[in-house]
Symmetry: none
DNA sequence: CATGAATGAGTTTTCATTCAT
DNA sequence: GATGAATGAAAACTCATTCAT
């Protein structure tokens, strides 16, 4: 973004999106308040004035991303009719989230890696909503005998795990290509849509009777 | 470990295992040399004397874990006869690795999250060996018409992604239970073996003709 | 005070009384403009608009308290006839001042402690007037052979020192009681009047022939 | 002190005496860690390494001064025989403390002024020991009918209040002289010994039957 | 090998003060 | 008069790294 475009957004918006990028890039501990302020073209003290300390900023950023993820998911799933359609809606909704917030995967991964040390309470609630939705899909599909018996959590972790890994390993895989030369390691189209279709296919095969 | 037991290991060993724990817990940026030295019961300067700076220590720790993972995997897979057995061997070998090095998942996740910023070259080579093995399993299974067509990388990321997520989300899930109370979110036996069996089942269903 | 009552006073009045409290509580360096503004229910910039910077605010606050102290003292003493009565008038006037401005003792103590670094000129003049009054009382009493020879300054410091210590050590003494439990350390009635009577008695005994 | 002399003391000693001076001069909030480090000719980080944060440093400094004050006092008083001699011993011991630690008065005054906000627990215990000593002197003197009835706390505050005021108002009084010119306001010899003798005389007159 | 002390360059956070509206 | 936002300089505290012994 150019400086001019930046100025069109409010300070708070600029702070939040800069923070999102930098937290995604460097993690909570690695992120530097100075850098966030600089990228947001904002005086450092403004971050404290508008939002609070580093932890509060992180919480705010995460919450903003999570809250609408959860609501969108429940809505989409609710609109779908059969369990299979609901499952597809769930998978695509997750995919869409990662599409729209490509910075979420690294943040998520780091959070889990550190035991959720910096995880704000509000985000935890959003996660619970998501898990509830997955649970009900699985339960319903099982009752109607279209799905085998699976723990919904395992299913969810498989979907999220696979997707976030596909997205976030890209830079490392690129480095592997540079080193190895011999094989093509990146199947996806630039936007990741192809492998996400694969995920849908595989998950459905895994779970359908 | 008690102080006495600690003393039985060499300084270097103590440093490396302390570093592994702390890097797993806090990530590269979050880890503190002071803390590593304290946990290793070693003078801080000794780390620099024996191993080098923080980055070198990290590389050393990662390499030590990775190198034998790759060889064990190729050996086990080679011993299995049919594609299905090879696939099972691969999945179990990965599971065994995470079993034996429970600190690997968080480290891996963080590494990918940060684009492999701290990834040492040697580790990259180990990863390539693993991918080669997976590739050959898939190719062979497809040729023999027992597997559907999948990109081996997607398969691998699904296996690794699911497993590492199952392991590393445990603390966060625990917190969710504390918050929500309403549902049991932890299906696994303490060592995570149950869900890993699930993973095997699901992956086979997903991929088998 | 309730917000409604606050609004009845002018902004300046609210600022000044808020500032008095906070300076008394935290000292010049410890006081925060933000806090003063908040307590005065006034926008921070208004303090600068109406009064000036932190130092100016402090000077203003101090002066407001001191100016009438000095005049009241001289008046009361003038009205008394004999040296003993004058001395009593002086002691009671000082006591009344501290009664009316309970925030004065801490401010005074801090000022002296820091060598009067923030002492405004105007206040110095008020202090000189007070010392003059004490001097004349002592001189007259000595001439009439009712008082022993004392340096008026020592007398004044004894009176002021004792009184301000009695008042301002109360919180600390309370903490001592909490820690020690064994003895009652607070002789005064809540308003401090009892010990001030003691002071009068002791000072008179000390100085009378 | 010259740089050479400084080097003869250990870092910790240098830190502590620098801190004492600066805390006395500027109070807890006003003191700057940077300045303390500079005066101690020590790297700032060394303060944290050896002692801890600002509050810990303050506690350490205060405790060092207080602990021996209390013990010296009890010893001296114990050696004296009659109540009057004990009282004199007490007064002189306090005077000696202020003589030896001229930086104590300002620190004390500020502490009381701020309600003991930064008062470390250990110091509180030392204060209690002192108060106990004064109590027993008064009680004994009263029983033997040589003293009138006084609350020991009022006595103590009179002694300490007067002494600390005499010492700590000197700079302000000097400024008054500069402003007023007309009167000599400083009766004491440079070391404050003369007025302290006055204090002894006055207090004895006040309290003796 | 081992240790305690030292260093210097950050890093987060705070705060008095000012500006635009 | 009044307000919310902005600024810049400093303050406390941290940490990887090195040194002297």
């Amino acid at each position: 973004m150019k400086a001019q475009e930046l100025k069109k957004q409010s300070s708070v918006e600029r702070i939040l999106s800069a923070a999102l990028e930098i937290f995604a890039d460097s993690g909570f501990e690695g992120a530097r308040i100075d850098e966030i302020a600089a990228r947001a073209a904002v005086n450092k003290a403004m971050i404290y004035y508008h939002i609070g300390d580093k932890r509060a900023l992180y919480a705010r950023v995460l919450h903003d991303v999570f809250s609408d993820t959860a609501t969108r998911l429940t809505q989409r799933v609710a609109r779908a009719q059969t369990p299979v359609k609901k499952l597809k809606a769930y998978i695509r909704s997750m995919a869409a989230t990662f599409e729209q917030h490509p910075l979420l995967p690294p943040i998520l991964m780091r959070e889990f890696a550190s035991g959720g040390r910096n995880f704000p309470e509000t985000v935890a609630e959003d996660m619970l909503r998501i898990l509830d939705t997955v649970s009900s899909i699985v339960k319903q599909g099982h009752k109607k005998k279209v799905f085998i018996h699976v723990h919904p959590l395992v299913l969810h972790l498989m979907v999220v795990g696979t997707m976030t890994y596909i997205r976030s390993t890209r830079p490392v895989r690129q480095r592997l290509v540079d080193i190895a030369e011999k094989e093509v390691l990146l199947p996806e189209s630039e936007d990741g849509s192809a492998p996400l279709a694969d995920v849908e296919k595989l998950v459905l095969r895994a779970i359908k009777r």
